[in-house]
Amino acid sequence: MSYLDYKVAQTPTGIRKILYLNWPLVFLIAAVASIGFLMLVSVAGGRVDTWAEPQMYRFAAGMVIMVGLAFVPMWFWRGISVPAYVCCFLLLVAVELVGTIGMGAQRWIDIGPIRLQPSELMKISLVLLLAAYYDWLAPHRVSKPLWVLIPVLLILAPTALVLIQPDLGTSIMLVAGGGILMFAAGVSLWYFAVVIAAAVGLVATVLESRGTDWQLLKDYQFRRIDTFLDPTADPLGAGYNIIQSQIALGSGGWSGRGFMQGTQSRLNFLPEKHTDFIFTVLAEEFGFVGAMSLLGLYTLIIGFCLYSALSNRDRFAALITVGISGTFFLYFSINMATVMGMLPAKGSPLPLVSYGGTSLMILMLGFGLVQAAHVHRPR
């Protein structure tokens, strides 16, 4: 038994924890972020200081946060799971009461210079709480109706608050993220079948409600659905972005038009090309090869996370890893599916690549938890 093997068999302590980080994950995250910087330079027409530079600073800060959180032992996370959830929930209520009106929805709360988006924080704390719940719950009770109802309520309560902001996208993310965690915890598949059936029924009802006085969605949300179902119906209006996005993406071909050579991206046909539509720019300029590379990196990130979770005998830590990586997975797959015209336009960022601070910070916070779970796994 070598010295190293002997050490690894124990939970590391102090500064040496840094040796036990999930290093492949760190490099993968940095690689994806670098692709993001490159694309931000491209959409700024070659200028670094427009978007790429501030994004680099934020990413560096994010890395520091991630590594810092990796040092925090799991008992602490378990301990704060309930208070964190309660805090986030109260913040959501506060947003509802005093939130700043922004982008047509109440999503922010101003505390001095910090602009808080509690719905984003809730994504993390919901994962924490559910992981703690299923860690605590005896395995034979997992699929008992009462013990299923509790996490469902824990998911739906904040979801309802986010939905009335109104922020349909984040609500879906919360439900889907919670669902992934319940799935991983081993809740009977029958429940999922029932929920999916109910969701189909709900969608039918929502569509039926259009134009009546009990209309369940805003008009603009209905228009998004229309646009999704038939983008060509209104090519000058809402469907325009999707059509142009598909044209740009498809025209990239096998190897793309080259860095900063995307003709569609150069023209101002996409209003959010540095945020929501940045994948289009990548796909146009670097083609199938470039787009698949990013998708491959994302898949590897998920893969390393799942491997870490599967090999972790600490159920709480494993569930956290699955939940965070599941949220990350939802982020990039929804964004890619949207720009390829497979989902209604929702306005979601491409994780680690899109310009923007809040989502990046939440992601790095999440990866900090994943790293903590990895570092402190039982040996």
């Binding site: 124990q10 939970t11 096998w254 005998r313």
Partner: protein, 646 residues
């Protein structure tokens, strides 16, 4: 080393099977995304590439409608009209434009010369540039082209807005005009608005239009269009209309301006009417005038030559750009300088024998026989020159010049018009700087009666009169409101001259009109409530040679037109509560009392009456002539809705 379960949470229960299942589902989603990518970027790449090349998006600017200009009563004096025109793009015509042009020539007249010009232009310009074939078509021509469009490949009938001046020449000088942007215009503008590059854009070239350009221009709209690889427009994606420029209300009264223009007729003259209390320029009219609409549409070369060669200089703005020796209208300045400096008082008298001798040189009074003993009031009413020769020697030129500047002469009034002249209120320093010579006593004598180096524009004379009449430092203005937001009327400070002295000058001006021996008593107003005060001026435009002097005084009528004296007149009314001040200059008109005073009086009457001068306001013997004049005029009677009444 011991580990507690609490520290590690090692419960030995991972997530096992479900984790693998989840991984499988996620892998499935990723595979779906990858397959979709492959389908779009590999299998259907060619189709998308064609779509991408076929539709680039361009932003095309829309020329904003230029802001309207209203007169003080809301009458439109600069507006926009529909302009129908046709353009042709060579690419769309199939490369050869000639057959299309020949077919078009059957619908609208295109001369052979124009045809050759167009063919030349098409051969020089890019195939995708639309070129204007014909402008200002009638609706009939325009619609016949639209109907025949299928047979005229590449021809596009377009309609846009173009500037129009409904009052024609009445306000040509003050308003100026707009025109297409020239390379010279662009070279003068730093960082020009991209809308200036559009061929149909009209830029303010001179006058008010040019000075108020930033208010009148508005904001360009945008059209997003899809264009093919050749740059030709395929379809419009969105259209955002521009913002029309601000509506600017001027202080001018279109009716009075029209009357003034007609009253001056074919004389080479200028008239300015200013509100004594507010400084509003109610009329500022230069005669003869020109039709600014011709400049907007592109003036023909013979028309332009005719304007350039006209000896009455119709293109020059005589109101602010033209400067004249003010002649005797300057005497109020010299008198006030004398009173203000304490050299004389109202009762001081000088003896006029008909001339003054200074340094062995005789300076003549206009009246050879002399005026005898003259005081301040009679010096004005008789316009005695010797009184001012004597006074000038006592006061000195520097104090006269200072008074002139206080009254608004020799300084540039900040009006939004082109080439506003500064005039000259000469003093010792000025002559030294300008001519490098010392001031002579003779210069003072000439300056004291508004001759020699003194130069003033009709605008400055009107401001001077308004300041004397109101006792306030009146400053002229032309803008009354922008976009309905009224510009506040300034509360002018009191003039830095003792009101008692101003009363003396006013009494003198009153005597000019209303005393038995007043030089302009023929042009008086006989209605007491409009009692008028004024001052005549006649300024030499030539030096009288010794030979001429030997032959005796030559009357103006015997001289060729361009060597006759300028006739000037300034006045205001009512005497007790001054409302309007008027200045009139008639170039080479002869005497101020005969050529300028009647015009100024009639314009003043129109302003006071708010309409044609009533016949009973002028002395009986002039009524028939006045009526005849009125009947011969084609007066402007606005039927446009009045927005507000001053």
């Amino acid at each position: 080393m011991t580990r507690t379960p609490r520290q590690t949470g090692d419960t030995g229960r991972g997530i096992g099977r479900r984790g693998l299942l989840l991984a499988g589902i996620q892998l499935g989603v990723v595979t779906t995304l990858a397959l979709k990518l492959r389908s779009m970027q590999v299998e259907h790449a060619e189709e998308y590439r064609m779509l991408a090349d076929g539709n680039s998006i361009k932003i095309r600017l829309l020329v904003p409608a230029r802001g309207l200009i209203h007169d003080r009563n809301g009458i439109v004096i600069a507006g926009n009209e529909q302009n129908y025109r046709v353009t042709l793009t060579r690419e769309e015509a199939g490369g050869d434009v000639e057959p299309v042009l020949r077919r078009l020539a059957r619908l609208i007249p295109i001369s052979d010369a124009r045809m050759a010009e167009l063919l030349d232009e098409f051969s020089r310009r890019s195939a995708i540039t639309p070129i204007v074939l014909a402008d200002r078509l009638t609706w009939e021509q325009f619609s016949s082209i639209a109907v025949n469009a299928p047979a005229l490949a590449g021809v596009t009938p377009e309609s846009g807005l173009s500037r129009v001046y409904p009052r024609g020449g009445d306000m040509a000088h003050v308003l100026g005009y707009v025109g297409p942007v020239s390379d010279y215009d662009l070279s003068k503008i730093e960082n020009p608005d991209p809308v200036l590059m559009l061929p149909e854009f009209q830029l303010g070239k001179v006058g008010f239009e040019a000075r108020m350009e930033e208010h009148l221009r508005g904001k360009a709209g945008q059209r997003r269009v899809e264009v093919n690889s050749a740059g030709r427009e395929m379809r419009q994606l969105s259209r955002q209309e521009g913002e029309q420029g601000a509506t600017v209300q001027m202080t001018l009264d279109a009716r009075l301006q029209n009357y003034a223009a007609q009253r001056m007729g074919s004389e080479s003259a200028a008239a300015v009417v200013i509100d004594c209390q507010t400084g509003d320029i109610v009329t500022i009219c230069s005669s003869p005038s020109f039709d600014p609409n011709k400049f907007v549409r592109g003036i023909s070369s013979p028309d332009y030559k005719a304007l350039m060669n006209h000896d009455h200089r119709p293109l020059a703005d005589k109101t602010v750009q033209g400067v004249y020796p003010p002649g005797s209208t300057f005497k109020m300045v010299t008198l006030l300088a004398g009173l203000d400096s304490g050299v004389i008082n109202a009762g001081s008298r000088f003896y006029c024998p008909g001339y003054t001798e200074v340094g062995g040189r005789r300076f003549h009074c206009w009246r050879r026989g002399g005026h005898g003993s003259v005081d301040a009031v009679t010096s004005l009413s008789h316009s005695c020159d010797v009184y001012y020769y004597e006074l000038a020697q006592k006061v000195g030129i520097d104090r006269i010049a200072a008074m002139a500047r206080r009254l608004g002469l020799g300084q540039r009034h900040d009006l939004p018009m082109s080439a506003v002249a500064e005039g000259i209120a000469p003093d010792r320093a000025w002559k030294q700087a300008r001519h490098g010579q010392a001031w002579q006593v003779g210069d003072s004598l000439n300056a004291s009666i508004g001759q020699g180096y003194v130069l003033a524009s009709p605008l400055q004379l009107a401001v001077m009169t308004a300041r004397i009449a109101s006792g306030r430092e009146v400053r002229p203005r032309l803008v009354r409101a922008i976009d309905g937001v009224a510009h506040p009327v300034a509360d002018f400070p009191a003039l830095d001259v003792d009101p008692a002295f101003l009363r003396v000058a006013r009494a003198g001006m009153d005597a000019v009109m209303n005393s038995e021996s007043g030089t302009a008593k023929r042009s008086r107003i006989i209605r007491e409530e409009w009692r008028m005060a004024g001052k005549t001026g006649t300024s030499q435009v030539r030096n009288i040679t010794a030979a001429e002097r030997a032959r005796g005084v030559v009357s103006n009528e015997q001289l060729p037109w361009n060597r006759r004296d300028h006739a000037l007149f300034v006045c205001y009314a009512p005497y007790e509560a001054p409302r309007y001040a008027v200045s009139v200059v008639v170039e080479h008109g002869g005497g101020g009392s005969t050529a300028a005073a009647p015009i100024a009086r009639d314009i003043l009457l129109f302003a006071l009456n708010g309409g044609l001068p009533p016949l009973d306001a002028v002395p009986g013997d002039q009524r028939d002539a006045m009526e005849e004049r009125h009947n011969a005029m084609h007066l402007f009677t606005p039927d446009a809705p009045r927005l507000s009444r001053a």
